[in-house]
């Protein structure tokens, strides 16, 4: 599939990987629908490229997703790529010895992470594929996973959500392949984004760098280029592309 001919929906397009993909793919000629929960971030994205269409959307709201996806298909005359990028990272041990009363992992945090990282991918993709089939579109679903899908200490909810996203990627590859719809996951390791720096102290990040055979964290463009490869390679299906410098956790 030629990227320049693609009509791409990106969730979480207001920052990080999503924003970098939106700007990069728009510059290469793709038509971009950028979704985000943050209006200011969306306006900033629009200011950087007026050709990008922006949509305020909470991806945990399946009713809103249905409305916006139908609107995008109407405005774009269809769509052939969905990039499920929106996500949050929250850390907590299963039992926190430092808490005196309720030491167990909070159910609210569990539900929030599962809702944003996992349920949203289910909500967007079921609607996207339904619209694709109605419009006889072929294309691909790209899910942004994480190295944490292998199980990372202190990330019960986050790791579970990403492992489930990888499982759905493989299900959809088999289920939708006959319709010409591919499904691929990109699993970044530690990447140089504001989210990474906000989530951990520099000393902790340096420890992960020491454990990485390439002795560095990844660059955003390395995730963007992997995503571009996943879009353009029409025989790639059901795979998880790990971009982590050979780090294992």
């Amino acid at each position: 599939m030629e990227l320049k001919d693609s009509k791409i929906i990106i969730t979480g397009a207001g920052s990080g990987f999503g924003k970098a993909m939106a700007l990069s793919f728009a510059n290469l000629g793709a038509k971009i629908a950028g979704l985000d929960i943050n209006q200011e971030a969306l306006e900033e994205l629009k200011n950087q490229n007026r050709d990008i269409n922006i949509y305020l959307c909470d991806v945990t709201n399946h009713i809103k997703i249905d409305e916006i996806f139908q609107l995008i298909f109407l405005e774009f005359g269809g769509s052939n790529i969905l990039i499920n990028n929106a996500g949050i990272m929250k850390n907590s041990p299963l039992v926190n010895f430092l808490q005196r009363n309720e030491r167990r992992h909070s159910i609210e945090m569990w539900n929030e992470v599962i809702d944003v990282n996992l349920n949203s991918v289910f909500y967007t993709t079921r609607t996207f594929v339904d619209l694709m089939l109605k419009n006889r579109c072929k294309g691909a679903i790209i899910n942004i996973s994480s190295i944490a899908a292998n199980g990372n200490i202190g990330q019960t909810a986050y790791s579970a959500s990403k492992a489930a996203v990888e499982a759905m990627t493989k299900v959809w590859a088999k289920e939708l392949g006959t319709f010409g719809i591919r499904s691929v996951a990109i699993a970044p390791g530690f990447i140089d984004t504001s989210g990474t720096h906000n989530a951990m102290e520099e000393k902790m990040l340096n420890k992960w760098i020491e454990k990485t055979p390439l002795r560095r964290i990844g660059k955003i463009y390395e995730i963007v280029s992997a995503t571009q490869f996943a879009i353009e390679n029409d025989f790639l299906n059901g795979e998880v592309i790990n971009i982590n410098g050979a780090l294992t956790i």
Binding site: S92, P93, L98, R100, R103, G154, K203
Partner: protein, 74 residues
């Protein structure tokens, strides 16, 4: 006391001079809820003591750790 300090050195990768101080959680960059679990396991296994939930939650400074663990081993 030396045994406790050795566990602090091993758990938090600090020097012997640093563990002599009364450092708090915020002073030690890798002391979080996960390394706190390592600390408790190291203390209980190496000193053959059993700490209560309240004691574990109170162990948020080096002096507190030394004081609480000392009660079990001396």
């Amino acid at each position: 006391m030396k045994k406790i300090n050795n566990i602090l050195i091993k758990t938090f990768k600090l020097s012997s001079e640093e563990v002599e101080k009364n450092l708090r959680m915020n002073d030690v960059s890798n002391w979080d809820s996960i390394t706190h679990m390592d600390l408790i396991v190291n203390i209980e296994n190496e000193l053959e003591v059993q700490l209560s939930g309240d004691e574990i939650a109170d162990m948020i400074t080096f002096d507190n750790i030394r004081s609480i663990v000392s009660k079990h081993i001396y």
